[in-house]
């Protein structure tokens, strides 16, 4: 549990920069949600039996969680690791690189969870959630955050410079957002593209969150949870492996 000291360090910084931090994580997804949700939603009768804005709220919740986890793990993480040398300072103490990586992943997942939870609260306040079952979104949001935090941290410990992240974002995250059912049902994609989406964590997050927002239990829960857990576990293991290599040199 030594990673908690790393988590608490990041939490203290976040608390000091609370307003800017929350604003930057939530303004974009909320503007997108209401802008597209109501604007585009006015043109669409319903999607999968939901109003478009309710449909899109579930997607936004997942993509915002993904982006918060990824940004925190990559940009903020790289700044702490590379720019500020905060990790080096921590490693003189009785903590190891495994503790640091663990703390960073848990922190990025926590921050992502807060983004997802806030969007859920806003969606609920606007009457988009229909049943108490929606609280199950809370653990799912953490799991989505954990999966992307772990993958993001692999990028961080492999990165030589900031440019490295734009490859991951442009070539992986943006297309993933398009094919994972955030904006429209993934089922209308060509079968081959849908097959790719099913290999990616975001698709499974959306598949869990959307039915819960609509008030029903999702189908195939075990598979969706297993994929997200798999990304989190494998991502953490790989991030630790690459971090050990980077920091023992």
């Amino acid at each position: 549990m030594r990673w908690t000291a790393v988590w608490r360090r990041n939490f203290l910084v976040w608390r000091k920069l609370f307003i800017a931090s929350v604003l930057s994580n939530l303004a974009d997804p909320l503007i997108l949600l209401f802008g597209l949700g109501y604007g585009l939603g006015a043109l669409l009768p319903s999607v999968q039996g939901m109003s478009y804005i309710a449909f899109f709220a579930a997607g936004t919740l997942c993509s915002a969680t993904m982006f918060t986890a990824s940004f925190e793990a990559m940009f903020s993480g790289f700044s702490r690791m590379h720019g500020q040398k905060t990790w080096d300072a921590i490693l003189y103490a009785p903590l190891t690189i495994d503790d640091v990586v663990g703390g960073e992943i848990m922190w990025a997942a926590s921050k992502a969870w807060l983004s997802g939870t806030t969007i859920l609260a806003v969606a609920a306040a606007f009457g988009l959630a229909h049943s108490a079952i929606v609280v199950l979104v809370l653990p799912v949001a953490f799991l989505v955050g954990l999966a992307f935090a772990a993958v993001g941290l692999i990028m961080t410990v492999l990165a030589k410079n900031w440019d490295f992240f734009s490859f991951y974002m442009t070539l992986i995250m943006t297309p993933m957002t398009m094919i994972s059912g955030v904006f429209f049902p993934a089922e209308q994609l060509p079968a081959s593209v849908l097959a790719v989406a099913r290999l990616l964590p975001l698709y499974h997050g959306v598949e869990l969150v959307r039915p819960l927002v609509a008030g029903r239990l999702p189908g195939g829960i075990v598979l969706h949870v297993a994929v997200l857990l798999g990304y989190a576990a494998a991502g953490t293991a790989l991030a630790i492996m690459f971090a050990r290599r980077r920091f023992s040199a």
Partner: protein, 302 residues
């Protein structure tokens, strides 16, 4: 009983033997200096001793713990002042100490108990709420030193503790380090400032190309490795005079447009120079720097 012991240490990066058969022993309570030109392997040696890098061969024992196997346990009782400040820029002075104390698992009560004395030690009493970017270079260094003391370590590692500081700031750091040795703490520092090594260290090791080439107290190293008197000569015709000097002094060296003549009896050299107004000269006792240059050479290390 030693605080730090390394035997036959090897570390290779690619084709380069960065640490090559190094033996090291540091006794409790001493200030031990590791001297060497850039690239001699000083920082790698420190990282090996802390368990941050694993050696390719050799044994390390730090405060009785085998490293790297039990490096975490050893680091619980060790403080580190790195070469480049890595204070947390998002935090105030006091928060830096508080957060760092948590990395050692110290109770919040114990950290706040230690805080006033550490701030006083760093000369930062009354500045606990200051942000890091408002501190001078000397203040940052002293805060880094205070941070390394948060766990009340037995042993302190310092990598070039005064590099980049002005003379005032440097003297203050030296005063603080002497205070620490008086309190019984063991200090291991790397430096390439001979003056720093001579003033602070009880014992020195000169390191070059990955291994130790001389060990001893500053005085013993000077006595053992160099003639006690030096004359530095420059001016028109110094090259011609160099030939003359070789007959008057046992060792003569040239660096750029300066000739160094080393001897136990320097009188013949001085007598000769008094008859040569075209040459300027400086007579001084030999110093650690002369030993260092003799042993590691005058070539530039970049």
């Amino acid at each position: 009983m030693s605080v730090l012991r390394a035997r036959a240490l090897h570390k290779r990066y690619g084709a380069l033997d960065v640490v090559n058969g190094l033996d090291l022993e540091v006794a409790p309570g001493e200030c031990f200096g590791l001297l060497g030109p850039n690239g001699a392997g000083k920082t790698t040696t420190l990282r090996l001793c802390l368990g941050l890098t694993h050696p390719d061969a050799g044994d390390i024992e730090l405060l009785g713990e085998p490293v790297p196997q039990r490096a975490r346990e050893a680091r619980q009782r060790v403080g580190v002042v790195p070469q480049f400040d890595n204070l947390d820029p998002d935090f105030t002075v006091a928060e830096n100490l508080l957060v760092y104390g948590r990395y050692f698992g110290l109770a919040p009560g114990l950290i706040s108990e230690r805080l006033p004395a550490l701030l006083e030690f760093a000369g930062l009493a009354g500045r606990e709420s200051a942000r890091i970017n408002t501190l001078s270079g000397g203040m940052k260094r002293r805060l880094t030193l205070a941070r390394a003391l948060i766990n009340d370590p037995q042993l302190l590692f310092m990598d070039e503790p005064t590099t980049g500081l002005d003379p005032q700031a440097r003297h203050l750091i030296w005063e603080r380090l002497r205070r620490l040795t008086q309190e019984g703490k063991t200090l291991v520092l790397t430096t390439h400032f001979m003056e720093e090594a001579e003033r602070l260290c009880h014992r020195l090791a000169i390191m070059d190309r990955g291994s130790l080439i001389a060990t001893g107290s500053p005085r013993a190293l000077i006595a053992e490795h160099i003639e006690p008197q030096v004359v530095e000569v420059h001016g028109n015709g110094f090259e011609a005079w160099m030939e003359e000097a070789r007959r008057l002094a046992p060792r003569v060296e040239r660096a750029g447009d300066t000739v160094f003549a080393y001897a136990a009896d320097i009188a013949p050299v001085l007598a000769d120079l008094r008859g040569r107004p075209e040459l300027s000269f400086l007579h001084r006792p030999a110093s650690l720097e002369d030993v260092f240059l003799k042993l590691t050479g005058r070539d530039l290390r970049d």
